[in-house]
Symmetry: D2
Subunit: 484 residues, 4 copies
């Protein structure tokens, strides 16, 4: 199996999932596999595809990368049919097991029902306890199974209404793709926390995906975002857009722009690469420093570093070289060589760094463990000064909406001041982008304090959806409405 070659990805927040769906194409499964491959950065631990061939559903799920497990001719051949949905999963806990891999599938009384989910429900445990007490049997630990049980138990005669029944009971962040015998359905939660976009292939074939890069790989055209609170239904007779929820002001996740999304993704705010370059330029204006070169922490820091370099005029250089070939299980073999501080994934470009004043640009600081190692490496390569610039505000709060974040007490910025962080990391100066700077980079004039335009809970601690399972019922704007 192949693993990420991103050298510093152990100490990042991780998007938990990517979804894809296509309705009415003879190569539905093959295109879904390609789409999942383009979305691989959103989840690398497992992937699955469910197709429907007019008579029955077919399912292939596997642990590992799409390109290792689902892309062979024999797998594709076992997924006949002209509609399909797919899912990439990033495991949030150690035990990824196959029965948790999505899309989940169940035979309901109305027929087969497959579902893929990006996001996280905040009242899943509460609902699960209720369902078990009514005799429901759960197979897996995923919160998505709760949705299926709610659909199964709904007394509505029409499937779409049973899904709406279920949605009105759940809270949290969710972008869903659903496949039934007659329909493909896409749903984005009322605040639109997680992304979901609509595309179109030649001949008007509709596709759904978490990001537009999944359209590029199959030659599909980007049409628009699925709107927050929208439920879009594809049938033989066409497309229908429903609004099953009260209208709320959208709060999409701002971190998608900082790290999660691929730089070549297009959003309603424009190109992610451009946003990141603007972030770097803002950072240079807000936190300038006199230095000899700008070095990105590869690869996620690169666009911001280019923006910083272009704005400041300080040359951009590759100061850290990656090893492209990182195997699965590199174990540092003995204690006696552990002190060597072996760097398996990267190496300092000494000839560039020695004797220089260096600006290191990274997208964020989570635990800080990686930052410490990078700075150590840069220092031991002979840098005269090391200044770190972070392309986002301090990450002080955990995410409960489908992002794998450490618990709050493990977040470095939640535990100490910026000065203390600078000392710990060992830099001559450390600076973060301001919240307003971030909002400017995404196209706003600043953050609207009364009703922020994005979900920025990881920076602000302001959670737009109540955390039912977590805090036992603190009320939030959404849940009040959902209960109305």
């Amino acid at each position: 199996m192949t693993v990420s070659t991103n050298p510093f990805d152990d100490d990042k927040l991780h998007e938990e999932c990517g979804v894809f769906g296509i309705y009415g194409h003879p190569d539905a499964a093959a295109l879904t596999v390609l789409g999942l491959h383009a979305l691989q950065h959103r989840g690398q631990e497992a992937a699955g595809v469910v197709s429907y061939d007019g008579k029955q559903f077919h399912s292939e799920r596997a642990l590992g990368l799409v390109g290792d497990t689902l892309s062979s001719e024999s797998v594709i051949a076992s997924l006949p049919g002209d509609s399909a949905i797919g899912h990439n999963r990033y495991s949030t806990s150690g035990g990824t097991v196959l029965r948790n891999v999505q899309p989940l599938f169940a035979e309901l009384s109305g027929g087969g029902f497959a579902i893929g989910h990006n996001g996280n429900l905040t009242n899943a445990m509460t609902l699960r306890r209720m369902l078990v007490s009514k005799g429901a049997i759960f197979q897996a630990s995923s919160d998505t199974e709760v949705i299926i049980h709610l659909v199964a138990l709904s007394q509505q005669p029409r499937l779409v209404d049973r899904v709406v029944d279920a949605l009105r009971q759940i809270e949290g962040a969710y972008s869903l793709v659903i496949l039934t015998q007659k329909k493909m359905i896409g749903i984005r939660d009322p605040l639109g926390i997680r992304p979901l976009v609509l595309g179109e292939m030649e001949g008007g074939v509709p596709v759904l995906a978490s990001e537009s890069v999944a359209f590029d790989i199959i030659g599909a055209k980007y049409v628009r975002e699925i709107e927050p609170g929208e439920m879009i239904v594809f049938t033989e007779n066409g497309i229908q857009s429903l609004r099953p929820f009260p209208q709320l002001k959208a709060r999409p996740c701002i971190f998608e722009n900082i790290y999660f999304s691929r730089p070549d993704t297009l959003t309603s705010s424009g190109s992610v690469y451009e946003i990141r370059k603007r972030i770097g330029a803002e950072l240079s204006r807000e936190m300038p420093v006199d230095a000899d070169l700008v070095i990105p922490v590869p690869d996620s820091g690169t666009p911001a570093a280019i923006g910083y370099s272009q704005e400041s005029g300080i040359p951009f250089e590759l100061g850290i070289i990656r090893n492209h070939y990182v195997g699965r299980t590199f174990i540092e073999p003995t204690d006696s060589i552990r002190h060597l501080g072996v760097r398996l994934k990267h190496n300092a470009n000494k000839a560039q760094i020695a004797g220089k004043r260096v600006i290191l640009v990274d997208d964020s600081i989570v635990r800080g463990t990686t930052s410490i190692k990078i700075v150590e490496m840069i220092r031991s390569a002979g840098a005269k000064e090391v200044h770190m610039r972070i392309a986002s505000p301090p990450t002080t709060h955990s995410c409960f909406y489908g992002v794998d974040t450490p618990e709050r007490h493990k977040l470095l910025a939640a535990r100490m001041s910026i000065d203390d962080m600078a000392r710990l990391i060992g830099v001559d100066s450390l600076a973060f982008l301001s919240m307003d700077g971030l909002y400017r980079a995404v196209g706003e004039t600043g953050r609207d304090a009364r009703q922020p335009q994005y979900c920025d809970a990881c920076f602000s601690g302001e959670y737009p959806i109540r955390l039912v399972d977590h805090d036992g019922g603190q009320q939030s704007q959404l849940s009040l409405l959902a209960e109305a």
Copy 2:
């Protein structure tokens, strides 16, 4: 197994091997595995380590990446001893089989003998026929086995002399690491075609490696290059440097500077990253063009593109985004979707490119197949003009000295003019670095036409070592001397 994520590496020349050796360290095998990992770019198909524990030799060889196959604690534990040598292999033909994986090992009358070889002998077939007629039995197809047989058949009493006996019969390019019961030996062929460098760990422990990056990963210090024609022998009593060949003017491979070596490698000409930036700057001066942005073909074109951008003042941008997660066996599933021109490993950064005049910088053009696809991708992202700049002269000749090159008639530059190439590739302009420009970038004032300072046969067709097996005996400078 993990594969390269370099998006365009199918259409490159490939270094065939990397070697490593360490003598007198309690963690010899673990350090060798780390060294091989740092040299993984020199050969990804297989790797092996032989260690000696004072009583017997231990060997582990495997197909696949070092990090997947040799880095586990159990493998390391099965390689006890305080001396070890290792080898990375890039298969030159389809059939990589385990018995071809190096280091090769044989029990000779004087004791065990292990050898790792980077390079290619030019008279291996001729010697092999001679040896078989004398009753020698060959197990594998590698030319390295010829060396072992020649050592085995030598009548000299001392092992070092038997090795010298063998070396005097072979022709070609070779950097060798040898491990016996009492000695580690490093040898570089008389012209020094392939690299071999000497390092030192704390406490004076000597290490050998193809490139200095293998020292960085284990915290060893770079000492110097093994000199062309030098045979360096490590024993308990110290280091001895022998000169078993007549002195010749060195001709190291110039392509190491262009593509093979890692950018963070140090050579006697300085930092490879710096050389590549100077190549980019030379290219900008020699072949300027009015444009909006400079885009590297990732990843090998990046340093030259930075050099080009800094010299020309045209902004450097990431115009091609890589997918980090490329699985092993991605099969384009059906004919009907093949025409989509699916791009599994990369995607154009449309928002940057659309409507712009683009300079694409790549290190070399081999068959040209990849260049065609890249340009197509850039054009379909909306570029107004595409200008390609190549950081080396046209590659017109095959290499017979340990580099995997297509046959000459498959090399694009051997088949057509630069203008025809430009038309085929679909660019508005195409330009290569001049030979003198290349020599300037590596620190010379230009190419010495009578006696070039490097082996540049792939550009010039001037082969410094005769190709015995290939052309049946045409005489060259080296062989005359070797026979003297």
Copy 3:
């Protein structure tokens, strides 16, 4: 994986499952694995164990033989706790998949619930349709999952009562072992179709198993059969025997004595080996023939052949030699050698057979395909006469109570007379044991025609439990009562 070496087992009826349970022993899982190994003949396709350690349940399930998949130290270590149940499975259809492998486990509102089932429900499909219409979600295709759903949906407060609720809704053959947080439960259906026996280890630790051989392997003592219709409950406070059903006259499967059970198993009728020898003696008295030697069809025909030989005085000889080493996937390679009639698993002992009058003793004839091959082999080894004697009455009907039988029209004895069978098989004479002879061998004076002492539906067509799913509701004795 290992496969059966029984040469002729392709053309046999197959017991579908074996179960095991132990309550209150520090090595519960290890002993369960050993018990399953001793019961391997009852199901070779998959096996599983669930243990409970006082805090949580642990589960290991695998396709393949117990000795290949569950017996390693690491598997045992992952099954801590002092109570455990286990299950061997013989797949009745092609697609054995892991999620069908038992014991099945579910988290119910009252806590964890694990179940292993030997037998087959005759109204499972009917119940399943009802459950799905109520919103139940099924994961697997096994009828056992129906039982779990019925328990989950029961409104009784106590678990034992919820199980009884479920049992009162199911019909068919079942021997069950159940493990909950506080209890181990053993249940045998009201007619006692499938076996279930109680044993005891040193210190009074109770064990349950399908056959007493599972006690021998762990040094446990055979106590008694679980009685038909009995529900035995083990808790910390001791053993309780419940009778949740109206009392019915038992009808255990008579075929257990002919083929399914191991010869070293003890039943309430005594030693299975002795029964089979008595069957052979009955057969010799009922169907004598003048011949030179008695040859068993290995291995299942051997005890009856010994009985036949001892009763008739005709010598017993090994006329068919097995190859002990039969691999997994022996494919007859090409058409041109297929006509050789290659015998991979056995060979005739020519020196014994040539020129002799041979009595072949086999336990039963199912499709007849194997009998044809055996007789052909014996004839081509030079036998003068071949007389076949079958240690059971003609198999004319399918079993629906947990035995893998071909459909009725594939059963040779359902399609033709004994004379026609003899001609087809190519023997000089063919004779079956009479029904009364069979009942005498198991210790009765004959078959009680009004109320037979055993289930002998495969010979008589008299099904003691109605086949709800199969024939849509034909009433039988049991179901009337069950509905009462």
Copy 4:
């Protein structure tokens, strides 16, 4: 992988190899695989086939059983050609590695040369040291490689003469099959220690095999034994029989009749099954005992037990029941259950044994460890008396001619008297067959003490071929002649 299901085979002598060859059949490889399957009892650890298709040699070798590794269509398809040889290997030491698996193959100056060897050379180490000192390079540890080197170094122009050159230098036991571009050759050592037989398929296609059972499986006819000292050469032009050695009186291994060969094998002394029954009858006459039943130790003791029962009139019963399904890696899981004396492979048939006087018949006693366990099991099943009868004389000496025997000091009969053995094993009486009784059973009137008709060194300590490597040069009859 599949393993033997013979319950007591851990404590047996083991034949080390089986060979097969076929010349001139379009399905050569498929038939070779079938032949090796029939010879699987002679070696289970690895197997290989080499075929020749008129242009080149093809080789497939694998660890494991033939039916698991070589019998698939794809393997057969990779072995084209109309001549082939094959080999089964029983590893004599722990480390079976693929490069030791035969047939071995080498490209010699005269062309390709493949060889399979059953037996063991007694001067292999001595020859190997000589060859290494001349510069030969050995890849593997097998003595067979010595033969190839001797052939390679011979200066004779014709291949047959080079083979004869090599044979005149080797000493020991060997049955060889050799395949070259033009010929298949079969060779049996001058004393004919190991078997080799000639067969014929329809159309006169010649086949060679270790035992005639390999002919039965492919429908070939048994022709005759290859005679001791015979070299038989098959070419397009026919068959030639050569006698390259001085004529010696044959001394075939007598143990083949006791245990190694399959019972359905035919030898020049007749059917092995008949011989074993005669052994049992001799044993009954020589060592009678008053008892209730005769029980074979399965499976190898069965024919002798039948012979004993028929001669004595005491009934033959299956007192030990085998578990047919023995997995690969059954580990007794914890100390606390080890004392249970778990019997994974067999179980006593208690109902037969309890209260009875039992005669246990086994073929031989090696270390005695298994006998102790069996008797313990029989006793704990309630036997009143246990009498053990062994179908061979006491095994007191190691074999150096191709049989895996423990070192002499581990052989129970070499360490103690029969009375002491009886006490150790725990039987009421123990008796072995006499040497003369054994010779009578194989058709002689008794053992010719001056010049025994068989090799019986394992019983007598009289080694007919000197053990050069082992004792450094003690002269024997053969070597004197071989040196003449």
